[in-house]
Subunit: 442 residues, 2 copies
């Protein structure tokens, strides 16, 4: 009998602002960070690892919130936790005092994501399977039992969800075999950060094409003339056949979004990502109507399943970019995948940051195997940063994620990385006056 | 020349769960709490006071977030801050690393509310006016300059906002004189908490009628038979002329909300409040269409102005119940009032909790004086709890708020209250083992 003995949460921050990696029109100087949860057990060989992703200041707030959210897990038997992943989720979620701070959004929800990601990692390790395989081995009823369907019944009922999953159940193994051969297709954002020079943009686009990518994404929205010039460079390198996506990171009001995207239409973007406030369902619907056939994509700041429900109901998006560290782990992500299936919207999860690629590969694989059964219109983000900090890093070859094989959710970081980048006491930060300015800057 | 020298944030918690005050179908055991901000200056006679409201656990998270959010204020001249209340707001809001944790929702937004509430309190004290009067003395252009119109231009333009305010400007003083005579009408929720017995409910309803109230609100949503019995009692006491409102505190999915409200229709409620998730704009619109002529009210968990914009655009609500400690103070609240005016929706602010009544009286008065110019369909919540902790408590007579006269936003608490209820070191909590259980309960 194994028991959860502690929930440690580490504030880990990487100084990405120094190189403009990750720079965009809204987020000019992010330091990619994680509130990193370690669920310890009395078996020294067994822990669960999970995190939420932030971009620097305030990561300590998520750490505090995750410490509190994880408290009820301490002292529970591992068998009871991994044997009732729906019940554990509902139990953690049911704290009405903490609920007031959201509900189900912002810091508290990020903390819930971090904790439940660690719980799911633990469950997959106990099962001795990578998370995607643990999910693919669950029956439709088991999957729907762990999904959070609260507030969704006007869009998706339990029986509809079971019926959709049941239809694909007999053919799951064939799709697993297919992905084991080909991998899951991805696209790269590494080429197009706003802080990069034209020369670097051109070189990175060419490298992406040479590496087998058929999709490249550029950040836009700071200056229209710059965007036209950069899109022209990208399209020149990509040719007419590859896909160019553009991403405004929420900088526009709705009318401005429509005008700006129309000005970039000549470069035939596949989608405009985050054209406006991530909360603006009706705004995204208006943009979508105005800029078609350019698609509308959003979701990395999609706060919870109720937002996504409405995005689907309002026909506001062509691509759903759910985030594995912002939604409350598999319990809520599964609900979004099920709704996306019903409404016919492809899910192309947000990744990048630190560790998000490690998580989303499991989600995309599971989606193809058990939920959507389709790769059409689907491509998962990949950014080639910070993978060296993970024990089981994702592997991308020929523009596709290889299937993870180790048990867990691929969320574990190297202890040496924690020792170096823990904030503010890690060896990287302790020596730098930068640490002080990071805390106090306005 | 006066300078802001410190931003102290106090975790204050009142043990309201002991008496079931504030109990409802979602929140059974709240301990009304505040993350209480004190902006100190080098003038010992001048400080600014503000807070956000929570219901217990996690209040410390809001405290930490408010401490960080207030840091850039320290060292600024008071004259510069109160002379550019729009610029200060935008400056605090512009931290892109903290923005990632919302954006503009959850803990970070509650913290922004607390800090900016203190800034507005400080501004009113410097002006020597109650906040409602400070606002009523601003020109339409000055008001629109402090309002946050980002993401709203598809619903409300700057010029429309100025035009609406300009139309009412010449008659502001007449409405002030009217309110000085009559007060601003309010309703009471004190009668109808879910944890109260039928006898207590009947007695409190009668006391409300005797005290001059024309509106009484009941909590519903835990058990339909109980709700029918309690609504019958309330309607018996109130008679046919007074208004009965019901409040479900988000416990239903959309189809369940419609069914349950229809089962209570015989008691002719004026509105159903929070029938479902506060994020579900389209869901509220569906409920509204189904239960008319019963109105739909929501907003105490309305996370930001983008949510309210869509509630108006989707014709989802009959009553807008914005919250003074959840929206980012006057800068964002003003935007919601302006949109409500344009879309013809009365604003009936959420209050109760601790200190919310003290704040919202200023908002309602200002709305009538300068924005809506109407009392039709408008009634502001009032709950008779915890006012004794405030230096300038609200005063309600004959079912109406009297106009505050002291300078500021009425947000200052007595030092003795802080000494007693600061958590966990205040004299009330220090002696109680309850403190430990409050921190660790699941």
């Amino acid at each position: 009998m194994t028991t959860i003995t502690a929930a440690e949460v580490v504030d880990v921050r990487f100084p990405t602002s120094l190189t403009a990696d990750g720079s965009d029109a809204m987020n000019k100087d992010g330091d990619y960070s994680a509130a990193y949860v370690i669920l310890r057990t009395d078996d020294p060989e067994l822990s669960g690892f999970g995190f939420t992703f932030t971009i620097g200041r305030g990561n300590d707030i998520c750490v505090l919130a995750a410490e509190q959210r994880a408290l009820p897990l301490i002292g529970l038997r591992v068998e009871d936790v991994v044997g009732d992943l729906g019940g554990i989720y509902r139990s953690l979620k049911s704290d009405s005092q903490l609920r007031w701070l959201g509900p189900e959004k912002g810091v508290e929800h990020l903390a819930m994501a971090a904790v439940m990601n660690a719980v799911w990692d633990l469950a997959a390790r106990v099962a001795g399977k990578p998370l995607w395989r643990l999910l693919a081995d669950m029956t439709p009823e088991e999957l729907v039992d762990v999904a959070d369907l609260q507030y969704l019944s006007d869009a998706l009922t339990r029986s509809e969800a079971i019926a959709m999953l049941t239809e694909l159940q007999p053919t799951r193994e064939a799709r697993i075999a297919e992905l084991e051969a080909t991998g899951y297709p991805c696209y790269t954002t590494s080429a197009g950060w706003l802080g990069y020079s034209d020369e670097k943009l051109r070189r990175l686009c060419q490298e992406a094409v040479d590496a087998g990518y058929r999709h490249v994404k550029l950040k836009v929205g700071a200056n229209l003339d710059d965007d036209i010039r950069r899109c022209r460079i990208a399209r020149e390198v990509l040719g007419d056949d590859a896909n160019l996506m553009i991403d405004a990171n929420q900088v526009w009001d709705v009318p401005e979004a429509i005008e700006w995207v129309k000005a970039l239409a000549e470069f035939k973007p596949l989608w405009i990502e985050e054209p406006t406030s991530p909360d603006d369902i009706l705004g995204h619907a208006a943009v979508r109507r105005a800029v078609a056939p350019i698609g509308v994509a959003t979701g990395e700041h999609g706060m919870n399943r109720v937002l996504f429900k409405q995005m689907f109901q309002a026909e506001a998006i062509d691509f759903c970019q759910l985030d594995s560290a912002r939604l409350a782990s598999i319990n809520e992500i599964l609900s979004v995948y099920l709704m996306a299936k019903k409404f016919g919207v492809p899910v192309c999860p947000h990744a990048g940051g630190v560790g998000l690629c490690e998580l989303v590969q499991h989600l995309s694989i599971f989606d193809y195997v058990a939920v959507s059964g389709s790769l059409e219109g689907r491509v998962t983000e990949y950014v080639d940063h910070l993978h060296e900090h993970f024990v089981d890093p994702c592997i991308v070859e020929n523009g596709a994620y290889r299937l993870p094989t180790l048990p867990g959710y691929s969320a574990e970081m190297h202890e040496a990385s924690l020792a170096e980048f823990a904030f503010p006491a890690g060896s990287y930060w302790a020596g730098r006056s930068a640490a002080a300015s990071l805390v106090s800057a306005g």
